[in-house]
Amino acid sequence: MGGRVTRSLAQVFSHREASIALMILILFVALSFANEYFLSSRNLLNVGRQASVVAIVALGQALVIISRGLDLSVGSTLGLSAVSSAYVASVTGSQELALAAGLGAGLVVGVLNGLMVTRININPFIATLGMLSVARGVALLMTGGIPIPYTGWAQWLGAGRIGDVPFSLILLIVLVVVFHIFATRTRIGRNVYAIGDNPKAARLAGINIEGTRLLVYALCGMLAGLGGIILAGNLASASPDLGRGYELDVIAAVILGGAALSGGRGTMYGVLLGALLMALLSNAFVLLGISSHWQVVAKGLVIILAVGIDGLRRGRED
């Protein structure tokens, strides 16, 4: 009997999502004892809001990584989309056009990434590393390096609340559900997993690899664009420097959430958990009054720990 319980527990923890959920739980319990303010709804909702942009962008990144790709350009795409959106808003005054410009800029970057990877066969790491620089440069050129004030819909997206709940958090939950359904229930979503699991087999099974990969990069770019609008709206200002270094947080959330860089493995709710864990960590450092420099160290350690446990469990592969 005891053996069976141990075994089924072991089964649960063979999913990396479970170890992340456990880490979140431990942190949650520890923090609620350590600081009475932690459990206040205001604080918790704030954690959710902080997690939302990283998590939204990470949903797209997760699809890319599951298909055995990588998008390093998401931070720059986010910045470019934010300034494009703010620029169109300030020139035309139209909120619809501004929103479309932000999402469109992200989409264009994503499609270009996808074309580089699928048509010219550039390694995704290199293609999107190049794009990281190009997109940031274009954002700087568009603004001359000076932030553009940004109000309107974006502000509501980034800082608005429904009741007490931040709108970006609600949007995140909706998107997680939508992308979970997309990834697990649709034909294209399932093909994404198959391609990442064994691209050669997927091709011979008649799956359109190029088309699927292109779509995945396009979605990732568009979600980065959405993230840019939310972030700029929250700050009421679109800086061309917005999202610098964001790609690392986003990739970390995906990997923490149980996706494998080698493709074929990962879930959308795992991404949500990964982003939550990182937001909880930064919240912990604020509440406990520890230097934020330690937070940078801790973030790195958590990533190494989470992936390290998995590596030890799977053993050597070569």
């Binding site: 229930r185 649709t186 034909r187 294209i188 399932r190 093909n191 997993y193 198959a194 699991d197 064994n198 050669k200 087999a201 997927a202 091709r203 011979l204 099974a205 008649g206 799956i207 359109n208 074929g264 493995r265």
Partner: protein, 511 residues
């Protein structure tokens, strides 16, 4: 000291329940050159891997230079003087030739610094011996042709001055001139007392350069003959044997309408223009030695390799295939060789491995209904008799034969008109093999056109209504069921190779 170098006694080897070597005895004397031949899967490589220390025998003993040798690794084997040059390259393309020849050691002195001067001088000497004296040892290895890289492998082996050198198909990518040079080197080594074992598919090569020829079949040593007193026909007879494990039962199907017609199919330079017809209910066997072009033909037909010319007609209507997706849409489906690398989706369940090519038909507005998917996959798993605990278990937890049956399930769900099978029973045990043969016959009875590419003669004999023999990238001949015999097929398969030894290509079609 006796001049006996290697003594193998009653060597047995099993992988799980599969018995691949049955009590093999073999002696090799100093300075002797032994040819080791046999069909694919006869156990040649397994036996040589045991000699070299890569594999441990399940039973039996081995002695080297009169002392018992229990090798636990390749390193052990090399320490006592046994070198094995594999057919697959193990060179590092980004390093220089000299660094490759001294890989891992680099003649490094104390402090670990590579002694470039020493490795260059020594490399230049050994390059001369293998016939590559004109090449600078500082050249990056990746810039050499495959054949030249193969010679570098041999150079790597001979700098260790092995007492027994095993070469696995060393000439498959060499030009005739390079091959001659290699045989001269082998002669030189044998005169110095080195024992050599040459694994080869080319009978002429073995007859001309080996003192003895040993034939393996189904894991047994069948014959051990002096090459001076034997000939091709005798060797082919030894390789094939006479017992057929599986019986052909196609005959009762009448030939139907032509379903697939391939005309002038050509790729970027390996395949000669290929013409082929497959009728409804017909199983066409493609036989050929390794590198004969069977797989290349199937992949080019299927859109997985670029095609430069040729047309494909399916049920009378021309189809344009430039991508695999086009082929699948048109009604072709291929089960590739290499189940692990190109067949299964390793982290997916059995169910999802079966259904993956069927999602398009199942999906409603892009969504895959889970119930319908499970039902479709489960029905196939049941008719194909896949042995498993649950259809949701990972595919990698099944045996090779059951994985292969699951891939058949995938093919059936795709509902093809023409099925292309490349080595459908590779690495599958006998029981599953016979089930797979039944499946193939059953599909032909339903009117599918089937092409089975195989390097195993008994498989072709058990399945094919007609046999197309490939050699050197072109069709060497087509045999009707009445004309099909082991000897006739092998005669054709070896025919072009004898014309153009060493090139691996037939020059006749070059235009």
């Amino acid at each position: 000291m006796s001049d006996l170098l290697l003594e193998l006694r009653a060597i047995e080897k099993s992988f799980g329940s599969v018995h691949v070597l049955h009590g093999v005895d073999l002696d090799v004397r100093r300075g002797e050159v032994i040819g080791l031949i046999g069909e694919n899967g006869a156990g040649k490589s397994t036996l040589m891997n045991i000699v070299a220390g890569t594999l441990a025998p399940s039973a039996g003993t081995m002695a080297f230079e009169g002392r018992p040798a229990q090798l636990r690794s390749v390193r052990d084997g090399r320490a006592i003087g046994i070198s094995f040059v594999h057919q697959e390259l193990s060179t590092v393309g980004a390093l220089s030739i000299a660094e490759n020849i001294f890989l891992g050691d680099y003649r490094a002195g104390p402090g670990g610094f590579v002694n470039y001067k020493a490795i260059r001088t020594e490399a230049a000497q050994v390059l001369e011996r293998v016939g590559l004296g004109h090449i600078d040892p500082r050249t990056e290895l990746g810039r050499l042709r495959t054949g030249e890289q193969q010679l570098i492998e041999i150079a790597k082996a001979i700098v260790e001055k092995p007492r027994l050198l095993i070469l696995d198909e060393p000439t498959s990518s060499l030009t005739p001139f390079e091959a001659e040079r290699l045989f001269a080197l082998m002669k030189e080594l044998s005169d110095q007392g080195t024992g050599l074992i040459l694994i080869t598919h080319r009978l002429e090569e073995a007859l001309a350069n080996c003192s003895r020829i040993v034939v393996l079949r189904d894991g047994r040593l069948i014959s051990d003959r002096a090459s001076a007193t034997t000939g091709r026909e005798q060797l082919i007879h030894d390789m094939v044997g006479k017992e057929a494990t599986f019986t052909y039962r196609g005959g009762e199907r009448g030939p139907g309408e032509v379903r697939l017609k391939v005309e002038g199919l050509k790729d970027k330079g390996f395949l000669a223009p290929i013409d082929l017809e497959v009728r409804a209910g017909e199983v066409v066997g493609l036989f050929g030695l390794v590198g004969a072009g069977r797989t290349e033909f199937l992949e080019t037909l299927y859109g997985a390799r670029p095609r430069t010319a040729g047309s494909v007609t399916l049920d009378g209507a021309p189809v344009a295939i430039s991508e695999v997706t086009d082929a699948v849409k048109a009604g072709l489906f291929m089960l590739p060789e290499g189940r692990k690398s190109r067949g299964i989706l390793p982290t997916h369940s059995v169910e999802r491995n079966i259904s993956i090519s069927h999602l398009g038909q199942l999906a409603r507005h892009g969504f895959v209904p889970g119930g319908a998917e499970r039902e479709a996959a489960a029905r196939r798993a049941e008719t194909l008799n896949i042995k498993m605990g649950s259809i949701r278990q990972p595919i990698t937890s099944l045996s090779g034969g059951n994985q292969q049956k699951a891939l058949f399930g995938r093919a059936l769900l795709a509902d093809p008109r023409i099925l292309l099978l490349d080595e459908p029973t590779h690495g599958v045990d006998v029981g599953a093999k016979s089930e797979i043969y039944d499946i193939i016959h059953g599909l032909a009875d339903q009117g599918l056109g089937i092409i089975v590419a195989s390097s195993e003669l008994p498989e072709i004999m058990a399945l094919a209504d007609r046999c197309v023999v490939f050699a050197g990238g072109r069709i060497a001949g087509i045999l009707s069921r009445d004309q099909m015999s082991d000897d006739a097929i092998l005669e054709l398969a070896f025919s072009l190779e004898a014309d153009a030894p060493g090139t691996g290509k037939a020059p006749a079609y070059a235009r």
